[in-house]
């Protein structure tokens, strides 16, 4: 769903920056741009933010109640692209600006949301 949109936006952004490079100084071949380590940094921040959420006792209990292995969720989380992680965070943020997301919308909903977005709920289709 939203992941496609995020990918589209990213592609658009990339094509815009490629066009702009035409009339400006091009980076030397082989140089690793600043965006590379910035991406790394923000990706790590996204993962750890969601991992903190998953580690909460009420969320962990809910995952266990659904019979989902937490390690599987973390593994899927690490497999997401940066754009997909941002999408996941965006969806969580859109529920509540700041504040305690679990207190406001409940652990069940947060767990369902995370499972759907990391693609774990796809495995239920095979039941």
């Amino acid at each position: 769903m939203g992941l496609q949109k995020a990918r589209g936006a990213l592609l658009r952004l990339v094509s815009v920056s490629i066009i702009c490079m035409g009339f400006a100084q091009a980076a030397p071949a082989g140089m690793i741009g600043t965006a590379y380590i910035l991406d790394d940094e923000s990706r790590a921040a996204s993962v750890s933010r969601i991992e903190v959420l998953l580690a909460r006792e009420d969320v962990a209990r809910q995952l266990a109640a659904f019979g989902v292995d937490q390690a599987l969720v973390v593994e899927r989380l690490n497999g997401l692209s940066h754009a997909e992680l941002l999408e996941l965070e965006g969806q969580l943020d859109s529920q509540v600006a700041g504040g305690d997301i679990i207190g406001l919308i409940g652990a069940v909903f947060v767990v369902l949301l995370i499972l759907e977005l990391v693609g774990v709920t796809d495995i239920f289709k095979s039941f």
Partner: protein, 320 residues
């Protein structure tokens, strides 16, 4: 017993739940509240470019660019951001066009207080409004030039109105439907009024990717005043020097950075390339060897191998 089918069916309902939860939202205090002492501000000297048919995007962007001191004409900007087929402009195009003028577009926090703080530093804020309703949107870009909390009013350069005054509540509802999206135009040596480090750094990195190395160098120096010793900012500054072909300065900057963070292989890769440009192939090979010995991530290792190969080619060429 865990019923997987039911969970799956539930999860299919999630998009509908999103709409339900966000669609009827009112304006939260975190968006509408202003600091206790916020006297009325209005930036009277903000220029005005009345929009022609549908061209609110270019008109609003020209307004904020001109206020930032850039020499721009509405015609230039129309050519850069207006999409005749769509009768409008996209937010990313406004950001990209700002970079081609050597300015830094910064997307502010979505709150009235954030707008107020930018106005206080003398910067008007370009905002996206939806003057229609969600199902029949009427997108509009305008520029907030003033807020008067006591009178409950905001002043905008909007469309063909040089000074449109709107109730704060009304403005906030049109802005909410525009996703609380707002941006300011920064000269490279200016910080946002309340900078979010990663968003600000991404804005500078995008300036670098747009090939504006001179401006990016100034912006990274500005960032370093706020976050002294920040490794990302130091890396950015070194990269900008490299792109500007100031290899000696780039080398110094990469070395300073590697002293702080010896494991930063991306910086070592670039240091090697800066050394090659100065003809110091042996030192360059040594740096790459060192980086490869540190067990870099696979993608990075490939970059390092490519750099190693290109140094070998340059060495062979220089030997002839």
């Amino acid at each position: 017993m865990f019923d997987a089918t039911r969970v799956y069916r539930w999860s299919r309902l999630l998009p509908a739940l999103f709409v339900l939860l966000t669609g009827c939202a009112s304006i939260p205090p975190s968006v509408s509240e202003l600091p206790d002492t916020s006297p009325a501000i209005e930036l009277d000297d903000t220029p005005f470019y009345p929009q022609e048919r549908y061209q609110c995007g270019p008109a609003a962007l020209t307004t904020v660019l001109a206020k930032s001191g850039a020499e721009v004409s509405l015609d230039d900007i129309v050519g850069k951001v207006y999409l005749p087929g769509r009768q409008g402009s996209l937010q990313v195009e406004l950001l990209a066009a700002t970079r081609t003028e050597g300015r830094l577009p910064y997307v502010i926090d979505g709150s009235l207080a954030a707008i107020w703080r930018e106005l206080e530093t003398g910067r008007p804020v370009l905002v996206l409004q939806n003057l229609g309703v969600e199902v029949i949107p009427r997108w509009h870009y305008a520029v907030v030039v003033g807020i008067d909390a006591e009178r409950g009013e905001v002043a905008l350069r909007s469309g063909t109105d040089r000074r449109r005054v709107t109730r704060i509540r009304t403005f906030l509802h049109t802005w909410r439907r525009g996703g609380y999206w707002g941006m300011v135009v920064l000269a490279p040596d200016q910080l946002p009024a309340s900078p979010d480090r990663s968003r600000y750094f991404e804005a500078i990195a995008a300036l670098e990717q747009a090939g504006r190395a001179d401006e990016a160098a100034i912006a990274w120096q500005t960032a370093l005043r706020e976050w002294p010793g920040d490794t990302v900012a130091l890396f950015g500054l070194a990269n900008a020097r490299f792109v500007m072909q100031d290899y000696d300065a780039a080398e110094t900057a990469y070395r300073d950075l590697l002293e702080l963070d010896p494991g930063l292989s991306a910086a070592r890769n670039n240091l090697a390339l800066a050394l090659v440009e100065q003809g110091d192939y042996d030192a360059a090979m040594k740096e790459i060897g060192f980086a490869l010995s540190g067990d870099p991530a696979p993608a990075l290792e490939q970059e390092l191998r490519d750099t190693e190969a290109s140094i070998r080619r340059r060495m062979a060429g220089a030997g002839d």
